[in-house]
């Protein structure tokens, strides 16, 4: 909202994605500046989640480029020719990008504390004491310090999603991706998760948020992008677009979700 800079962190250029014969992304361009909260909305099947998943290579990129910082995602460019990165190199790129899933995907066999500690200890080689201290601080930050020893199965959906946010933050990423983080939650639990995301935005985190929460887009978003049919229909200041959409499709979509 206020921490946005002019330095681009994420550049998506001419992104296409095919699933077999299905052409689901048809040339997406999107730039996200450092500290910006970029909200992406659109009907289901519009390709917004697929675009997000391309950013950390959970989906391969059929055509186009994505770069985060100075890193080209998924490829190395040598003399104008793209070479696929090795699995290890892809893993290294993913460490800089946190992801929060619609269905939380917490590790059910580990307590909240160990969910958060897992990656710092196993991926970064952080020592257990320091990782635990950091994990407890993060759980406190998302309001769940007293749930550290609970298994995901003992937590509500909203609590699980907040643990999942803490788990992603534990890797100290420079970018956070949110894939419909509140869509699987009971309405009364949505607010807690959105509040955590708001705090995160205020702290200056760069975020790409795929969501149906128009209120969140209006209040926290620095940019709102409306996608439909695998293309960006409209993109700009969230308050302007919500108040005065320029395209018929945007207008129609907003009238149905507002």
């Amino acid at each position: 909202m206020s921490t946005t800079t002019d330095k681009p962190l994420v550049r998506i250029e001419g992104l296409h994605k095919y699933f077999g014969p299905h052409h689901v992304l048809r040339g997406i361009d999107l730039t996200v500046n450092q500290g910006e909260v970029s909200v992406v909305i659109g009907p289901s099947g519009s390709g917004k989640s697929t675009m997000l998943r391309c950013v950390n290579l959970l989906e391969s990129i059929s055509a186009g480029r994505i770069s985060v910082g100075d890193q080209l995602i998924g490829y190395r460019e040598v003399n104008g020719r793209l070479h696929d990165l090795k699995v290890k190199e892809i893993a290294a790129q993913r460490r800089e990008i946190g992801m929060v899933f619609q269905r939380f995907n917490l590790f059910p066999h580990k307590t909240a504390l160990y969910n958060v500690m897992e990656a710092p200890v196993q991926v970064k080689g952080k020592n257990k004491g320091a990782a635990k201290k950091q994990a407890l601080e993060l759980l406190d930050r998302v309001g769940l310090a007293d749930r550290a020893n609970h298994y995901p199965g003992q937590l509500s959906g909203g609590q699980q999603q907040r643990v999942a946010i803490a788990r992603a933050l534990a890797m100290e990423p420079e970018l956070m991706l949110f894939d419909e983080p509140t869509s699987a939650l009971d309405p009364e639990l949505v607010g807690d998760v959105l509040n955590v995301m708001k705090d995160l935005a205020k702290s200056g985190m760069t975020m790409i948020v795929v969501t149906h929460e128009i209120g969140f887009a209006r209040e926290v978003g620095d940019r709102l992008t409306f996608m439909d049919g695998g293309v960006v229909v409209e993109s700009g200041d969230p308050r302007e677009i919500i108040a005065n959409p320029q395209h018929a499709r945007t207008k129609e979509f907003l009238s149905r979700v507002l």
Partner: protein, 322 residues
């Protein structure tokens, strides 16, 4: 009548339960049959319980139990290691690995374990010497097959390789049962494929894998009686059969063997219970979230200090495991 709270405790409905005469009748019939059976087993002198008592702790029998246990454990260990490898190979991107694993399962599951045991017993006939060397070049070392593949090794190999094919399918099913979101979450955190498998997928798959593997282990306990085919002649069934042939009393020695198999099976079931409980943590055996509300409140109030001095506040369920 106030149905909606108020200060008075509600008057509980003291209704007359439905009667179940069928339950009583079937219970009586079954108990009656059971009593008849016990009476016949106790009073029929042909069972020769005195002989059972004489031989149940016979040195040969107890040693047979030991060998049977060794065969079971050793072959299951080999089978489990191979099965994990085969299940991972089946999921590999490399088609050569995939088809190799498929072929292995096809062959070892498709031929009788008895045939395989006879084969391992005869391997020295096919290959009298085991040697290693450069193909078409000099030989590096050479040993007599019989000194390496003893009857015991042949029995363990025969049982273990055969079992690995069945376990591979069980492990494959277990790995497939874990939600794809788990892999994605671990990938998004930048974990390596090996760590995702060992720390995230396999521990969850074990919940599905353990019960049928317990089944297979108990099956293996009794399949060890086929090692006669190798021939390996120290296991429990062979020992009790040999004694039975010597004293011409097959029934009491069959009972001796059956009692021992039952005892070991029971012990294995106890072990399986604890393994299941371990891998079910977080899913099957969830403790109630908050047992003591006062303690929960206290720990919530102390949360900041918990962050500063975590080891005092938090018990580590995983530290023992690692």
């Amino acid at each position: 009548m106030d149905h909606h709270g108020g200060n008075k405790a509600p008057v509980l409905n003291d209704s007359v339960p439905v009667r179940h005469p069928g339950r009583w009748i079937s219970a009586l019939v079954i108990l009656g049959l059971l009593a008849l059976m016990i009476q016949s087993v106790v009073t029929n002198t042909n069972f020769r319980w005195d002989v059972v008592g004489t031989y149940i702790l016979d040195t040969k029998v107890v040693q047979g139990v030991g060998w049977t246990l060794l065969l079971t454990v050793a072959s299951m260990v080999i089978a489990i290691v191979l099965a994990i490898l085969l299940a991972v190979m089946r999921q590999s991107d490399n088609p050569v690995l995939r088809y190799t694993a498929w072929l292995w399962v096809w062959f070892f599951r498709g031929t009788p374990v008895y045939t395989q045991l006879v084969f391992w017993g005869l391997v020295a006939v096919l290959y009298p010497k085991i040697s290693a060397g450069v193909p078409f070049g000099p030989e590096l070392f050479s040993v007599d097959t019989n000194t390496v593949i003893t009857a015991l090794v042949a029995a363990i190999l025969g049982l273990g390789l055969n079992e690995s094919a069945y376990l591979a399918e069980i492990f494959r099913a277990g790995l497939k049962s874990v939600d794809k979101g788990q892999t994605e979450a671990a990938e998004a955190l930048g974990m390596s494929n090996a760590k995702i498998m060992w720390r995230i997928i396999l521990p969850q798959a074990m919940r599905i894998i353990v019960p049928p593997t317990g089944n297979e282990t108990i099956g293996m306990l009794k399949t060890t009686s086929l090692v006669l085919a190798v021939p390996f002649t120290l296991d429990l069934t062979f020992a009790t059969n040999a004694l039975a042939n010597r004293i011409y009393l097959p029934v009491p020695l069959l009972i001796v063997a059956a009692i021992w198999y039952l005892v070991i099976t029971s012990l294995l079931m106890v072990g399986q219970h604890y393994i299941e409980a371990y891998y079910g943590k977080g899913v099957d055996n969830l403790a109630p979230a908050v047992i003591n509300p006062a303690a929960a409140k206290a720990s919530a109030a102390m949360a900041p200090s918990a962050a500063a001095e975590p080891s005092l506040m938090m018990d580590d369920p995983e530290d023992e495991a690692e």
